[in-house]
Symmetry: D2
Subunit: 324 residues, 4 copies
């Protein structure tokens, strides 16, 4: 049974392989009468696209999105919004040698075991290229949420470099998207060293939801925390999720923990700030061909934001019928 | 839009309030012709029920499950399996004072904000009592999986006490369900001290999947890791999830991380052991009435196992149509 | 993949076999703060129960419903509403001879072919007894709809006896539930003759939706007409559905048909009256043991109403997010 | 909540407006390793496209389909199959006068009432143009089913012209797709007369499933008959559905009806031939601008076949887990 759809009322279905003709997605359930144009989406896509700095993949993809349906004269019509991005830089020759060889840490082999047949070029469907459409969907999701609701992600940690006092205005001022320009500079140096060694680095991204609408999350399985965890763990390199004190709770007494504001009770948002962290593993593709990111975090930041916005938009619409 | 159903092919819907007449659930999609009786389920329920040791809640609930449908002469029929557990110890007077008062760290207030109306007795629907039915469902889910597949959870950490060399055979030999009897003894002492201080403790549970069938997980959103994260975060006190190296990846180079076996690639199981950890917060109910667990981990262990078994059974059935 | 759940936001899951301990259902997604008690539901159940007149099955079932969850102090809480009806008259000895014998026109054999294992007592899950819970759900669904919206069904035709000028106030004045007492009398005579011959009769039920809210139905697959058709065809003996001019369109020019008010355009309700008809086959169980209805229509009338109310309630809630 | 997705395991999501850039769809859940190329799909599309004969719309649409993903080197990969058809003949000027005017019998007004904003060109999303993607999906669905399973539809009736002895080999030999060339000739004459009068005609299409796999259909709501009814009623002009004796049951005794083979019991297929009929209303667009079909049946025949194939493929995959 397929798994390429996310969400229940605001529903995103994505499709496409990294070296096929195009990638795309369909958003069904976006309410009507919302102002939307391709430029609204492009801003976020540009934050995710490869080749934007010296520490990201050199693959050349303009990642230009087109809206094929669901928008008429600048406003959504309530019908499915179809998005498409043609693949430009299909340098699939890099991958021809992979027909018979599996890359370490990649989905190559399990796809073969599961499906018996696989598009081996550049990871095919398992490529992180698929996340571009998630970013596009996140840009649309944002428009459904109340104006003051804000989802902000940034690189929190790489090795021992930790942002302890995040300065949100500095996130887009450095290429590693850390919320601290001083620490960011050291992180960039670390990444460049790893690049020279043909190695890669993991890290932690922190995501903050400010002014989350109250009442989001549906007992008992679709708790907001559960759907946020799923959304973020559905991103390729993410291997951990925590919110509030997270794994730090092991060290806390109830009397201490009760004083921490976590933004959700019983899995339902209470309007206070929600702070989450995700662990992002180091790129598996090292010392082999292809053009890869030495550290996934800078480009994962907008992807995390997008998935959180998609979850919030869906739960915002779901909450509309808690009472009538 | 409601959220009391989990799974797609093996679908669990739960219902019931902690101080209502009963709690229960319906499992739809369990294949036919599987041997099943109430005793199969009761074993796991007994591991979750309150009052089983000196470090768990004193609430007296036999938690006896009845199967009302879907089983005929000891075998499943492919029709919905209805489970019911009548509530015995409805000492709801304890909660009468809560009509106008919200307990710290509880869902009380957000339920009121979301629904405008709430069963205030003992947490109502938000009570962890609801997880009893999850444990029952997990017992049924296990029967669908290959015989050698095993899901084993244990208390890994409370404060600085960490089980580093788990001895799986010792888990049920101590009341804290740590995989090490020596450390367990110290944990019990820690919990008893917290009890005396009317305080509570959090910790970390580790969950291991051995002999996971190959090919489970559906790209791109319903990756196995994503559905496991959702399943575990849907449990009341869970505030974090990680697998493999988890948040430890922040310290690792790709060349190091590629050597770690994580059991999934591209979100699809590869047949190797999968190791996960969840963070469990300290009980919020302290220094107030009601009868609560000073540390949730011992009883959360079978709940975590159950949710993982439910995810695996669902994905096992989903994988049946990857090819025809 | 299972099929015992109907609806998307207002979701009904039913369970139970005709000769098991009980039958029941769970409604998830009913908004909070709606007045509800068992008596509200019982009224409709009494219209469906067996043994209510000389032309219905003599099976003795009081069909008393209990609400086990989701309602607190007379109002819904937004959590799942669990309904249960214990089976009283489990005279399953009548069915013991059916272990090895399949009844003509019944699901007995296909259940065996599909599942390999079957509760052979009285049709098990395939029994029309399951529809009692649908009627209960319909009673709850009604409470979500605007007060003036009304769904009214009646026996329209048996053989050549056709109600051409329906008198809605007469429906409950005769045992066959025809909207015309004079024709009803003749229908009853026809049914009694069939009973004496150990035979059975089919017919047509007409269902009218008055003051349907505007805008119900979701393009393009979940059109209101499509979901109504599915809901009604999911009832055991229903073999046909039509609305507006129905199969009569074969004889009409567009210039004629455009003058007919059908209540929906593009599958979306326009607020005008919607008139539907369903074909109900004659009972298959004739000349064999068991206690069966010689004509299913009188008891099918409240079942049809219930399913239509469930569809309307679900679409009413779905429509809440067409715009924000 | 959106409704542009059909099916559960074999899932079709369609998008696009009749006068937008393109229409398309995504099929998620098609098993891997099935031979597929655009030409396989094009054959069926050519049977649906406008302009194929003197009795269909003169709109010029080559309806050329492209496969954008999910197929690699001629075989499906188990990942989403994205289909696109660019709109060629966007003569939307015909529709400019419709900005302020609603066409009788069309969805124009209800779309405005529901969404508050609408693509008014040619019916937008409500246009039957959307069904082209359904036909494409049907061509793929067919490949999942056993080779001998066949779905065959034909024009059965227009006014008093009824095909009583269908000759299946003659269906594609006449432009009206009646299963009888002699009657077809008379039907064509009738349609041409209606065209001259700027009027339109309705009728009945019969659909036969031969060698339907046994066991398809899921109790109790997703009975095969219920999902077939929904699938067919989701087609724009369809206003009625029946199978077996259909509305004829009103005239039958149980002793007579039990002798009729209907191909399903309890909503589950038994392997015998299933015969259904749908009522297709006359085109609403008469005596106005735009280029419309005077009779929808010839082009609706492949659409009905497609939807039935989609239902069968989905249920075929669903049935895979009835037992394990």
């Amino acid at each position: 049974m397929p798994g390429n759809t996310f969400g229940t009322i605001f529903r995103l279905t994505t499709w496409g392989e990294s070296h096929g003709v195009a990638i795309g997605g369909v958003i069904d359930g976006c309410p009507a009468d919302i102002a939307l144009c391709a430029a609204d989406i492009q801003k976020d896509l540009d934050r995710r696209k490869p080749g934007q700095s010296s520490i990201t993949s050199a693959r050349k993809e303009p990642d230009t999105v087109q809206i094929l349906s669901g928008v008429f004269q600048g406003k959504t019509t309530g019908t499915p919004i179809s998005l498409i991005m043609y693949n430009q830089d299909q340098r699939s020759k890099d991958y021809e040698k992979l027909v018979y060889k599996y890359r370490p840490g990649h989905a190559d082999e399990v796809y073969d075991l599961k499906y018996g047949w696989r598009d081996y070029r550049g990871g095919g469907r398992a490529s992180a290229r698929e996340t571009a459409i998630r970013v596009a969907a996140g840009a649309i999701a944002k428009k459904i949420l109340p104006r003051k609701t804000a989802v902000i992600a940034y690189t929190k940690q790489i090795q021992d470099l930790v942002v302890t006092t995040p300065k949100l205005n500095q996130i887009e001022q450095n290429t590693v998207r850390a919320a601290d320009n001083v620490i960011a500079k050291k992180m960039v140096a670390l990444i460049k060293t790893a690049m020279r060694q043909q190695d890669s680095l993991g890290g932690v991204i922190e995501i903050v939801i400010k002014h989350c609408p109250i009442g989001l999350g549906e007992p008992v399985f679709d708790k907001l925390k559960a759907d946020l965890a799923k959304a973020l763990l559905s991103i390729n390199a993410v291997v951990g999720f925590e919110y509030g004190a997270g794994f730090g709770v092991a060290q806390l007494y109830g009397s201490e923990h009760n004083k921490i504001e976590v933004g959700m009770y019983g899995g339902i948002s209470n309007g206070k700030t929600i702070t989450m962290r995700v662990a992002v593993k180091p790129t598996s593709s090292i010392k082999i061909g292809g053009r890869h990111d030495p550290c996934l975090l800078p480009r994962a930041v907008p992807i995390c934001e997008a998935m959180v916005n998609v979850v919030l938009a869906d739960h915002y619409l779901r909450n509309a019928t808690a009472t009538v």
